[in-house]
Symmetry: C2
Subunit: 229 residues, 2 copies
DNA sequence: AAACAACAAATTGTCGACAATATAACTTGA
DNA sequence: TCAAGTTATATTGTCGACAATTTGTTGTTT
């Protein structure tokens, strides 16, 4: 049962790693569930060799935990890990914003202003709030990260951390978040970057992420208490 | 040729990953060199299966880069990557120091003061400067990281980043560094933590790492110009 | 009935062999 | 002599099978 369109890639191992990542982030493989090598190998129609390499990769991404001679399990989302992850994100994206304040070229700044204007228009028309919340939000953050010019930082944030972050956001329908407030904060951050105020950009980015983290925490607690009722 | 004492571990793959990490960090496998799977498998007396899993793990640690159908190469140290890495470290350890300022228990603070006193004594006796520089330095930093209480941060810094950091320090004999100055800075950081001044602790830790980074940069430039002469 | 021991089944870890791809060596033509 | 094309070699990617370990089951004993 090849349940996902197979993205052509150089090697089977990469393909599977990508597909497994998506499957986990989107919840097709539920959190806390065991990864059965024979079962998955049969599902994807491959042997266990490349599958195991993919699982090792996922372990590096922090999406699964492995125990010798026992196997791999999808991570179990919980509030503490979320807070820990977002604290790291705060430090790293704060630094990215600081760097971007000195390295982001003028035209890219204008592009980002245009992006925020588009978000504003979407919100004013009261259409597609969800778009601004999800894709738009990521877009803004990713482009600041890339503007940092720090290759290591870019790789860590976009390739390693963001899988888990997206997982947390997807699994907690954060209806609490106020897109208009987020947009205001984005604008303030961009202003600081445009003015080359690194200190301020870092401070604002940290606050912005910290606030998102607190909202997520509330949502998770609410979900947890609802589940236990 | 089993050239390293084999550390007993649950799985061959883990063993090999550990041994390869050491071999790379200590330069037994030179930077930029190609990783030949058949050759290494023969050297360690294992098959290519677990070896490949180990290599995938090393790729996650950023110690090797892999290209499909071509193979793995040990990373090539260069100034830009070093600066990028230390910038990340600055952000992350700065955050760790901030967190430690509110979470580190009193007795652990005392332990760290005792550690610094020991370093001071070593320096005053003019003996074993090297010890203070290498092992002692890491000790201090690692214990602050652990005191942060942030499991994700601890894992990232100690298991992923520090391999590369140690590699940079080892390959550039940083005789420039002034152990006494470093010790003063350590003391100031610890004072801030003891006083629960998170802002200050973060600021000082950042400066401390930034300074180390600049010294390393000078050492690398000097080494580079000496090599081209 | 509960706890423990012995056994059975299934899963993970490891291996050697084959297929696919890339690199090196060689040949041919201008 | 050099360039391009072709063959040969070596290395990586993948597979199926076996060994080692864990987990689940059954049976026995107190």
């Amino acid at each position: 049962m090849n349940n996902l369109i197979s993205i052509k890639s150089a090697t089977l191992s990469e393909d599977i790693a990508q597909q497994l990542t998506n499957a986990i982030v989107q919840g097709h493989i539920p959190q806390g569930s065991k990864i059965s090598e024979p079962e998955l190998a049969k599902q994807y129609g491959i042997s266990r060799g490349p599958l195991r390499e993919a699982i090792v990769k996922l372990e590096g991404l922090g999406l699964v935990t492995r125990t010798a001679n026992v196997g791999a399990r999808v991570i179990q989302l919980n509030t503490q890990d979320m807070l820990d992850t977002f604290t790291m994100r705060e430090a790293l994206e704060g630094m990215a914003a600081r760097l971007a304040a000195t390295t982001m070229p003028a035209d890219e700044i204008n592009n980002l202003y245009a992006l925020l204007d588009k978000h504003q228009a979407h919100l004013d028309a009261n259409q597609d709030e969800h778009y601004v919340q999800q894709g738009g939000n990521d877009d803004f953050h990713l482009r600041i990260i890339h503007a940092s010019g720090n290759a290591k930082l870019i790789r860590l944030l976009t390739e390693e951390l963001y899988a888990v972050i997206r997982m947390y956001r997807r699994h907690t329908s954060d209806q609490r978040s106020d897109p208009r407030q987020a947009l205001r904060e984005h604008k303030a951050i961009l202003d600081a970057i445009a003015n080359h105020e690194g200190d301020l950009a870092e401070l604002l980015m940290r606050r912005h992420i910290s606030r998102a983290s607190k909202l997520l925490e509330q949502a998770m607690h609410q979900a947890a208490s609802a589940a236990s009722r």
